[in-house]
Amino acid sequence: MGKYIEMIRIRFLMMLAYRTNYYSGILIYSINIGAYYFLWSAIYGNKGEIEGLSVIQMTTYIAVAWMARAFYFNNIDREIAQEIKEGKVAVEFIRPYHYLMMKTMQGLGEGIFRLSFFSIPGMFIVSLIFPIEFSAAASTWLFFTLAIILSFIVNTQINLLTGVLTFFFFNNDGLIRAKRVVIDLFSGLLLPISFYPGWAQQVMDFLPFQAISYIPSMIFTEGFQGAAVYEALLFQVVWAAILIIPIQALWIIAKKQLIVQGG
């Protein structure tokens, strides 16, 4: 376990070395959230609420969705693809740790870094400028914390899956790009899932993507109440468990292939 904590720490320090990231990053996130705020205000017009969300809840939803993205987002799919292409992964097999676990921990180091230097101060600044509601209930915060940890897990699993697929394609860039687009749309980052037409919502219930952004953001804005919260968290847990299967399967096949081909 110690070695994985060390990975988190190293990645955290690496991120800290690039300081221009925060100044520019916070500014740009603020512009982003600001633009969305006005866009949604215009969409709401005179309507009090759409699909059960008021305009203030909607703004909060967007702000928290972007800030949570800073935590769960990482580029490990691209990194894995790069390391596979450069043949570095073969070396990783002989190291005394699980490669995918190590990548996950690096992602976590990045996430914790961005959460503390980016999301929390960013959220504070944004809440001064735009009308955003924070819940007073401790339980909401607790559930939200759980939800973003799970959202990190699910998003990272999807990244691992895309990354490992590089073993089977010559060039994986297209798939990685497509995945990113799909996640932006179906995770609920751009639009709450409840805004989609009914049939689309039903389809998305069978896909893992809403575990990434929609669920934590809805919990934070208290768009989910009572039993819906538990159901949402269960949804995340179930997907986090299911996704282990294809990752492990692909990893084992990839390993075999690597041994046969000798890298």
Binding site: R19, T20, G25, G34, I43, I50, R177, V182, L185
Partner: protein
Amino acid sequence: MKHATIFFLYVSQYMKTRLTYRVDMAMEIMSDLLFQAVNLIFILVVFGHTNMLSGWSRDEIIFIYGFFLVPFAIFGAFFNIWDFNERYIVKGEMDRILTRPVHSLFQIILERMELESLFGMITGIAVMVYAGSRLDLTLSWYDPFVFLMMVIGGAFVYAGIFVLLASISFWSDSRTSIMPMMYNIGNYGRYPVDIYNKVIRFILTWILPFAFVGVYPSAYFLGREEWYGYAFLTPVIGFAFFGFAIFMWNIGVTKYRGAGN
């Protein structure tokens, strides 16, 4: 003349390499299409809940999006140098570029081009035709020429912003997350700027003038006369921004520190 021959040589080399990896190329075109669809879906879903966006109809917003895709495709094909810092500064490839007798930015554009992006022009024009026919827009004989100017202006706005951001790498080689975020900001120029407050409107018009790659030039074709002033500024802003970016790039090259220092 010489630049044109070199350009076509690069293009033919590019085609040769690309055609050897056909699956990749198909994947890339598919992911571009998917990306274009996502934004369209966003608009459609939003207009499932409202009829007007501060006085602009669904079809008008779709038309703006269609227009946006055309200059964006040109930008994507030639000026999309978001990984300049990583590839050329950190890895030291800039050294090689600087030992060749062609302008450094021109060489980088040729090496980094992704002609697949040009398919976006077709999507864009198709979207415009669809929205335009629903809006009963009519074309004058000179409109295609105006369109061409607007598209070039818009592409130069994007190119100017990205070249400027790439030039920062000459002064500071620390990685920044600005580049990927610029794509998001670029999206806001596709909505009528009157929905934003003054600060954001000012930014989108004069600082990061993405509004000139979407709503302003489209306003001309949509016959929204109150925006004509801005619409006709599009090529001016495009050339001014791109010119300024090249100027900064040239200064940046003299500040280049080389790799590994």
